[in-house]
């Protein structure tokens, strides 16, 4: 067992050759721990999609290595990758990408069956998972009959069905209104923290910063600045650790948006610690 789920080591991806060569991702390194949520942001054309495809073993890097739970997946042959994708990754897509001819239940169970689970068991596990995500009454609905939030919940259930260690989400809130988008992100955070799964999100949505443990800014194929985020335990705001007001208490580090919040916390730390544990 390694202490990091995902370790990206000096990865570069180039397309084309000589005069037509384009470097989409340049010497990128990253590590994601179990239960950690990493948000990758950046402008269009910055290399986010290329990086996400490489993290998901859908694309091989030109240089560098990608380790998943200690296995160098970037070195694996094509015939081993479907199994890795099926059992180690959970994918969540911008436009849900549910199979339109299958019901919510079938959309989830088909992925379990692809991994070798028998039909009845796969359906039972899928139904339980969907019920946990609040979709018990929507099992036999086709995607076209589901709302955007429900579709994304089905997609999350599909991502979780084979117990992946890493969830890769591509713009998971892009097609959702702000309320539903926020719910989905809270759900992802809950999954990451309660089930100790690592989550890598690629998004333009600034609101996702609130739930991320780390935010990375990708531009011209390189991480420009790595910002560690934390939640102010008093007001709940997302704050950049390096710029926030800081307090160390009983061996724990706390970050605050303002001096007032820090003072308030210091006055009754026990109260805010309990509140903080209850959230997310």
């Amino acid at each position: 067992m390694t202490d990091t789920t995902l370790n990206v080591d000096h990865v570069t991806k180039r397309y084309g050759s000589s005069s037509t060569e384009v470097t989409a991702v340049k010497d990128v390194s990253l590590s994601v721990k179990p239960g950690e949520i990493v948000l990758i942001m950046g402008p269009s054309g910055s290399g986010k999609t290329t990086l996400l495809s490489m993290l998901g073993a859908l694309l091989k890097p030109t240089e560098g290595e990608i380790h998943l739970n200690g296995t160098i997946i970037s070195a694996l042959s094509e015939k081993h990758l479907p199994d890795i994708r099926l059992k180690q990754f959970g994918f969540i897509f911008q436009d849900f990408n549910l199979l339109s001819a299958l019901t919510a239940l079938e959309n989830v169970s088909i992925v379990a069956e692809l991994a070798g689970m028998k039909g009845v068991a796969a359906r039972k596990k899928s139904a339980e998972l969907l019920a946990d995500l609040g979709l018990a009454g929507r099992l036999n609905f086709l995607p076209e009959k589901l709302s955007g939030g429900e579709k994304q919940r089905v997609a999350i259930a599909r991502a979780l069905i084979n117990n992946p260690t890493l969830i890769l989400a591509d713009e998971p809130t892009a097609n959702l209104d702000s309320k539903i988008g926020h719910e989905i992100m809270r759900l992802l955070r809950q999954i990451a923290k309660e089930q100790n799964r690592s989550v890598v999100i690629v998004s333009h949505d600034q609101r996702i910063k609130d739930i991320a443990d780390h935010v990375l800014w990708l531009e011209d194929g390189q991480f420009k600045e790595i910002v560690s985020m934390a939640i102010d335990p008093v007001c709940g705001m997302s704050v950049e650790r390096e710029k926030a007001f800081h307090l160390s208490l009983n061996g724990m580090d706390y970050y605050f948006c303002a001096k007032g919040c820090r003072d308030e916390f210091a006055a009754d730390a026990e109260k805010y610690q309990q509140t903080n544990e209850a959230s997310f």
Binding site: L58, R85, K87, N97, S100, A101, L102, V111
Partner: protein, 370 residues
């Protein structure tokens, strides 16, 4: 994956109807052609099969009637009668010619019958008399209906007018019909009273027709004697040999139409779900698992098309006789097997192109929004 194929197939009803209907029509073409030729094979030997004769004696090396001419001396009739096992001998004259009704000319086997012949005559009389007298004829009922000929009208056969005194059933097929006239009239028209075409023989009961036929050939020079079964089989073989090329070409056309329809439908069905196959690939589905979906979808389509094609041809076989057409469709198990096999080949071939497509799908496209 089979479930996915099933749902994919049935989700778009219009596409399903077009693909299954197209395949059904193509298979109907093959099935109905087979059924028509099976019916023709059966009809073409109707005279032989229903003649009542156990043995047909013809000029040496003549082994069938269709497009054949046989001439044997009438003088051998007594010799034949003397052969052990022969009970009844009836000579007939036969030529392939026309029954002319007004401006319509209908190809027909003209059979010259002796008076009160116990075998070789009409076996299913629709109306009128079954035995032709001088200048009289019995023609097929459906031919008469199509030509507006009624009992008592005259028709022209071998250049002479004959009065229609009877209508027969089961004596017409897609190729021709049978018209019966008297042997005397036939001989008079031919101007050769000492020659007949065939001898129809009834054997004593309990004797093998093949054995008596063999005995006949050994005792009488210049003749070929075949049991009714063998003679009928030869007749069918001749017709089959003549029609094999036509059947092959039409079957090929049916096969190509079916293949084109299926290939197009499977191709467009897969193309329309390109992204979904990409998603499955990204999620970890192997190419082999995706090929199963394509193949299952193609096979389900052709199985449905085959079933529908069989229903169509069964309906046709029920409708055509009611239309009074001299055509019967006979659906043989071997035809069903052949068309079933053809369907499977169509399904497999139509899946090749989509399978090649899927193998080239880049799963990373799911992140590119393509």
């Amino acid at each position: 994956m089979i479930l996915l194929a099933f749902h994919n197939l049935f989700q778009n009803k219009t596409r399903l109807v077009i693909s299954v209907g197209g395949v059904a029509l193509a298979l109907l073409l093959i099935l109905s052609l087979d059924a028509i030729f099976a019916g023709v094979e059966h009809q073409i030997t109707a005279y032989i099969d229903n003649s009542g004769a156990d043995i047909f004696v013809a000029q040496k090396d003549v082994r069938n009637m269709h497009m054949a001419a046989s001439a044997i001396p009438a003088s051998i009739i007594d010799q034949v009668k003397a052969i052990e096992g022969v009970e009844i001998v009836t000579p007939i004259l036969y030529v392939s010619n026309m029954v002319v009704t007004g401006d319509k000319r209908n190809l027909a086997y003209i059979i010259g019958l002796t008076e009160n012949s116990p075998i070789g005559g009409v076996w299913n009389l629709a109306s009128g008399r079954g035995q032709p007298g001088k200048s009289e004829t019995i023609i097929d009922r459906s031919i008469a209906e199509m030509s507006d000929v009624e009992l008592g009208d005259t028709v022209e056969i071998l250049g002479q007018r004959f009065t229609v005194v009877g209508f027969s059933n089961e004596t017409a097929n897609i190729v021709n019909s049978i018209a019966f006239i008297s042997l005397d009239d036939f001989q008079a028209l031919r101007g050769s009273p000492d020659v007949v075409s065939f001898l129809l023989i009834k054997t004593h009961s309990g004797l093998s027709a093949d054995a008596v036929a063999a005995l006949l050939e050994s005792k009488i020079d210049g003749v070929t004697a075949l049991s009714r079964t063998a003679f009928s089989s030869q007749e069918r073989r001749v017709v089959k040999d003549m029609s094999t090329d036509v059947i092959t070409i039409m079957n090929l056309i049916g096969f190509l139409i079916g293949l084109a329809v299926m290939a197009l439908m499977v191709y467009t069905a897969i193309l329309s779900r390109r992204k979904e196959f990409g998603v499955l690939k990204a999620l970890g589905a192997r190419n082999g698992q995706l090929y199963q979906v394509v193949l299952a979808q193609a096979f389900m389509s052709v199985v449905l098309g085959f079933g529908l094609g069989v229903v169509f041809v069964l309906l046709l076989s029920g409708i055509i006789p009611r239309l009074g057409l001299p055509l019967s469709l006979e659906i043989r198990p071997i035809s069903l097997l052949k068309v079933g096999g053809t369907s499977l080949i169509i399904a497999a071939l139509s899946a090749i192109l989509p399978i090649r497509q899927i193998s080239g799908f880049d799963p990373a496209m799911v992140f590119r929004g393509t």
